[in-house]
Structures are given as structure tokens and as C-alpha cells.
């Protein structure tokens, strides 16, 4: 039985992890659609759930169980037996394929935009918070006149900077690719880190007493607000019977931030690494944004061994952000 003294105590440094909370660029559009009219779906609050009555002890226990299901809470007896478990997840690399969708032509909820066959490759980290999504997409619809070349995009976010690269690491060395600032996309891109199962646990722990546990249709639901740049976003994560994060919904009361209203479903959890790490990752990821499907990806491989992934910010991006 967890006592108060035994509970997780995490004091979050606001300037860091918090500043990282924003949206992810799984969109076909480059994250600029927040000036589109808000659809009816985004204006309503989430349906009221069963009463969220949970004390800090319930919350701590639930988060630990969910952390263990992911392989995020870890310790090692190699050369020592007396350290506690810690959150061991920092960097990850994901390879997958499937479909992404552009913005739909109308605002009817659920309507599909144009579909793209997509090769998906993401490199991410939580310390510092950063994400580099590389996608190669070909149109699934009627071929464009003359045959369109596949689209290749690299969309990056790191802390409060966002930019697009012409090649991986472009813009860092003169003559080797370019980096185009994309500051308006920071929140969209960052949010993707915090709706991943690992980000959910990290942010739920960081939210401290603001995190609540409830049940809905027998499933455990974890609710908490994000903070810093994404302070207007609340997250609701539903666990499956194995305590894995099965669904993550984000919502905001700010009508201007419709792109931060998302729903992602995760399933087929397994250790998808070439080298076994005991970190579980979803094999299938399906995401909606502002009510419209945007992504349906099957994971081919996932390196969760804290691989060497870095996200230095190019000078021209820093300068653009300063203005």
C-alpha cells in the first residue's frame, strides 16, 4: 500500500519539459490550419465521464502500473541493488508505413482528405524534448498529371523551435542542406511527443496533483493538463486490460487551437526492437486531428535503446525565433 511518503514526488522545472508541449506534424498540411473554421466537434468539451474521484495514492499506483506495462519504469541489478526504479526512456527511433491524409475539402467531421501512401520515420527524444519526422508520401488517389514525384518532408521540433529540413541535419553545416524555420508549427509538433504513450506517462507524472484517475466502461482513464506552451491542452488517456495506453485524446477550450484537438489509438504492443529492450511499443497507430483522420501507420521497427539521436537547432532558426 503506497503511503504519502512513498509516492512519486516530481517537481517539474517549468522552463523545460513544459515548454515542450505542443502539437505534432503528422498532418499533410504543414500545421498552419488553425485559421480554418473550427468544426462543431472541437467546440464541445469531452463527454462527462464517471466521476473522477481519485486520491494521490490511486494516481501513483495507476501511473506506475502503466509505466511498467510500457517498460518505462526500470532498474538494474548490474553492479548495485539499491537504486529505485526510474523513467529510463529518452530517445527512440520509429520506422513504419501506412497512410496519411491531407486536410479534407469540407469541415464535415470525419471526412477524409486526400490519402497518401506514406513511409514514416521518426526520431524523438524527451530530454530535451524533440522530434524529427521524415515522411515520403505518394498520392493514393488518381495519379497527378505528368506523374507526381513522391513528396519528401522532414519536420523538426526541439524545445520551442520548429523547422523543416531539406535533408537530415540540413542547415547545420554550410552547403549541406537547408533548414526553414516553421515557428508556427511548434505547438502542433510538440504535442505529438506528449500523446505518445511514453509522453503520456511522463506528463501525467509531471502534472502532479492535477492528474486524476477515473473509470469509464471498466477501463482506467488518466486525465491531466499539459503545461507551459500547451497549458490550454488537457489529455485523457485510456488504458487497455494490460494497462497499456490504448487511446489518447487531447482537447482545448481555445477555439483557435483546433489542431491540438486529437485522438490517437494505439494497439498491438510488443517489443519492436532489433535488440530486445523490454520497452513495449504500439504496432499500430491511428490518429485523428480536429475530428479528421490524419494518420494510420503500422510500425515496422522501433529502436528504444536510447539511441544516439540529437536535434541541434540551426543558427538561422534561432535567429528567426528571436524576431
Amino acid at each position: 500500500m503506497l503511503t504519502r511518503a512513498g509516492m512519486t514526488k516530481v517537481a517539474v522545472q517549468r522552463g523545460l519539459m513544459i515548454a515542450a508541449l505542443a502539437g505534432l506534424p503528422f498532418l499533410a498540411a504543414r500545421g498552419q490550419s488553425n485559421n480554418s473554421k473550427a468544426s462543431a466537434g472541437s467546440k464541445t468539451a469531452p463527454v462527462a465521464d464517471d466521476v473522477t474521484k481519485s486520491n494521490a495514492s490511486d494516481v501513483a499506483k495507476t501511473l506506475k502500473t502503466a509505466a511498467e506495462a510500457l517498460g518505462l519504469a526500470r532498474w538494474s541489478g548490474v553492479g548495485g541493488q539499491r537504486l529505485p526504479e526510474v523513467d529510463v526512456i529518452n530517445t527512440m527511433e520509429i520506422w513504419g508505413s501506412g497512410t496519411t491524409y491531407g486536410p479534407s475539402q469540407s469541415n464535415k467531421p470525419g471526412e477524409l482528405g486526400p490519402a497518401f501512401k506514406t513511409e514514416y520515420h521518426a526520431a524523438l527524444g524527451y530530454n530535451p524534448p524533440a522530434l524529427r519526422v521524415e515522411m515520403t508520401r505518394t498520392s493514393s488517389g488518381a495519379p497527378a498529371p505528368g506523374g507526381a514525384a513522391p513528396q519528401h518532408m522532414i519536420e523538426v521540433v526541439r524545445d520551442t523551435y520548429a523547422w523543416d529540413e531539406s535533408e537530415i541535419g540540413g542547415g547545420l553545416i554550410p552547403g549541406k542542406g537547408t533548414a526553414t524555420p516553421a515557428m508556427a508549427a511548434v505547438n502542433n509538433r510538440l504535442l505529438q511527443l506528449w500523446v505518445l504513450p511514453y509522453g503520456v506517462i511522463k506528463a501525467a507524472v509531471a502534472a502532479g496533483e492535477k492528474t486524476k484517475i477515473s473509470t469509464k466502461n471498466g477501463a482506467t482513464v488518466i486525465s491531466f493538463p499539459l503545461s507551459g506552451q500547451l497549458a490550454e491542452v488537457t489529455v485523457k488517456a485510456t488504458l487497455d486490460a494490460q494497462n497499456e495506453v490504448a487511446k489518447v485524446e487531447t482537447w482545448t477550450s481555445n477555439p483557435a487551437l483546433t489542431d491540438l484537438v486529437t485522438e490517437t489509438q494505439y494497439s498491438e504492443y510488443a517489443d519492436h526492437g532489433e535488440i530486445a529492450t523490454d520497452v513495449k511499443s504500439p504496432g499500430h497507430i491511428v490518429r485523428k486531428q480536429n475530428g479528421h483522420p490524419v494518420l494510420d501507420i503500422r510500425v515496422k521497427m522501433l529502436d528504444a535503446n536510447n539511441p544516439y539521436l540529437v536535434f541541434p537547432v540551426p543558427e538561422n532558426v534561432k535567429k528567426a525565433a528571436a524576431h
Partner: protein, 304 residues
């Protein structure tokens, strides 16, 4: 079946070269106590057996300390980024077997935020070296770890004109042969780099900056890696600046690696704080000779 003859309390580490116990309950640096001995020339005297925490490269707690993860009793902090990391109480720790121990160790040694920033054209190479480290680690086959990978020397002898650093060979994270360095502090300058053929430890010269001993090294081969793990290769033009500062019975060591051929910017290790061996009569034990037999039999890519 005969009765189980248990090992001594789990704290004692089998091959710690006779040093003190390693089973730390946190990864916080030791607090200095006692006066700092001074040499006749007015500088701090770094002489001592600096293995009070057992080896600075052995054991997951030391290895986490080395990448800047400060684990307390119920909270954990990355000292470079300031990020707080979720921590769960020891008494509720989940059970696991040796495979799980090892997989967790591989992750725990790499979770810190302080990583050298290579040029983008080398990012994949670093990743590949790390993932394939069973084959690629140059310290395999009992080769030297080199400077600065060896970290803090287990023994320092200080004379007015040179320092002797001794690093006993280990059978652990990076199985290595015993190494030593003789570092002149007589004010001489480096040999012209063109005349240096490149070695594992480089050519080192030391000088005092206030109470800090600064050791400057050039003339490396390009074979070694420069941190405890991670596939961090370098060029022959690597330049290493180590700083050693004694405070009572603690010795703080950092190394800055400059290598504009492969890095976007210089990189500095997390400070490592070594503790003086608390036994005033302790001497440096003989390290076992190194002979590698395992790699012919390694089947998968799980690595340290």
C-alpha cells in the same frame, strides 16, 4: 543438493580490484570532508588512491552518475538539463531476472541528455557503432580505453614536476589492460603535432590554473572512443582538456573533447567525483591480466 552457500551481502562486488563496496543507494556525488592536503609548492596535492567509490566506470550507479543522472531516494534529476525524471520507491520495485537486469542497464547508461553533437554526416555512424558495440568497441580484446574514456585514475602520485596516473585494468564495462600516464608539469610545451604518431592516451602536459590541474592532450590515434559508451569515435585531431580539482577527500574530474573534424562543437563530460579510499593504508591491488575469449561466442546484439 547441498545447502546454498550464499554470497556475502549483495553489496560486495566480485572484481573490484580490492576496492571498497560499490552498491550505492543513490548516484549523488560524495560530499567532501577534511582538509585538502597541500604540496610544498603551494598547490593542492592530488596524491592518493581515488577508488573510494570503487571504480568510476563499473556498476550501473556509477555509470548513471557519469552521464549526469542524479538518483536520490525518491527523485531523480538530469544535472545537465535540469529535467526531473520520474522515480518510484525502492520497496515497490518490480522483480526481474538477469536478462531484464542487463537490458535495463543498457538503457540506464544512455538516458542522460549530455551527448556530444556530431556533424550530421556522422550521426548514423555513431548509432551503428553503439548498436554493434559487441563487434565495434575498440576496447574489446583488452585494448586500451584511452583518454578520456578511462575517466578518473585510481591512483595519482604528484611530484613537483610530473604526475603519475594509474588505471588498473578492469573486467567490466570496458575490459581493458592496465594503463598509466606520466604527465609533465614543468612548463614544457607540446611536441609539434606532425611529429606525433598517435597513441591511445595522447601526449599530455599539465599546468595549474589556480587550484585546478589542467591536463592538455593531443596526438591521439583515431581508434579509441572517448566516453564510457555510445560509439563516440574521434579523429586523430582530437584535443582533450582534463580538469582535476581536489576538495578534501574528493577529486572532481571533467574532460572537454574538441574535434572539429567530427563534432559540431566541443563536448564536456559530466563531472565525475571520485572519493579517496577511506582506508589510509590501502594500496593499489594488482589487476588481473586481460584475455578476451567471449566475442567468438556472442550470438546476438545485446550489449553493455
Amino acid at each position: 543438493m547441498a545447502a546454498l552457500l550464499c554470497l556475502l551481502p549483495a553489496a560486495i562486488f566480485a572484481q573490484n580490484n580490492g576496492g571498497p563496496r560499490m552498491d550505492h543507494e543513490n548516484t549523488l556525488p560524495p560530499t567532501p570532508t577534511g582538509p585538502t592536503p597541500m604540496a610544498p609548492d603551494g598547490h593542492p596535492d592530488l596524491t592518493g588512491l581515488w577508488n573510494g567509490l570503487a571504480d568510476n566506470l563499473l556498476g550501473v550507479p556509477n555509470q548513471m552518475h557519469n552521464v549526469g543522472i542524479e538518483v536520490g531516494t525518491d527523485s531523480t534529476r538530469d544535472i545537465h538539463s535540469g529535467v526531473q525524471i520520474a522515480t518510484w520507491p525502492l520497496q515497490n520495485r518490480q522483480r526481474q531476472n538477469n536478462e531484464q537486469n542487463e537490458r535495463a542497464a543498457t538503457l540506464l547508461r544512455r538516458m542522460g541528455s549530455n551527448r556530444p553533437i556530431y556533424k550530421p554526416q556522422y550521426w548514423q555512424r555513431v548509432k551503428d557503432f553503439d548498436a554493434n558495440s559487441n563487434e565495434e568497441d575498440p576496447s574489446n580484446n583488452c585494448m586500451p580505453a584511452g583518454v578520456p574514456r578511462m575517466g578518473v585514475p585510481s591512483y595519482i602520485a604528484q611530484t613537483p614536476t610530473y604526475l603519475i596516473f594509474v588505471y588498473p585494468g578492469q573486467g567490466g564495462l570496458i575490459a581493458t589492460a592496465t594503463s598509466y600516464r606520466m604527465i609533465p608539469t614543468d612548463g614544457r610545451k607540446h611536441t609539434n603535432i606532425e611529429e606525433l604518431d598517435g597513441t591511445w592516451n595522447g601526449e599530455s602536459i599539465g599546468h595549474w590554473e589556480g587550484d585546478t590541474m589542467v591536463v592538455d592532450s593531443i596526438g591521439f590515434n583515431s581508434t579509441s572512443w572517448f566516453d564510457q559508451l555510445g560509439g563516440y569515435f574521434h579523429s586523430e585531431n582530437m584535443h582533450v582538456i582534463e580538469r582535476l580539482h581536489r576538495d578534501g577527500n574528493t577529486l572532481t574530474w571533467t574532460a572537454t573533447v574538441e574535434d572539429p573534424d567530427v563534432l559540431l562543437e566541443p563536448w564536456t563530460t559530466t563531472p565525475r567525483v571520485a572519493l579517496l579510499n577511506p582506508d589510509p593504508k590501502a594500496i593499489l591491488p594488482e589487476a588481473l591480466p586481460c584475455s578476451e575469449r567471449d566475442f567468438a561466442h556472442v550470438v546476438t546484439k545485446e550489449h553493455h
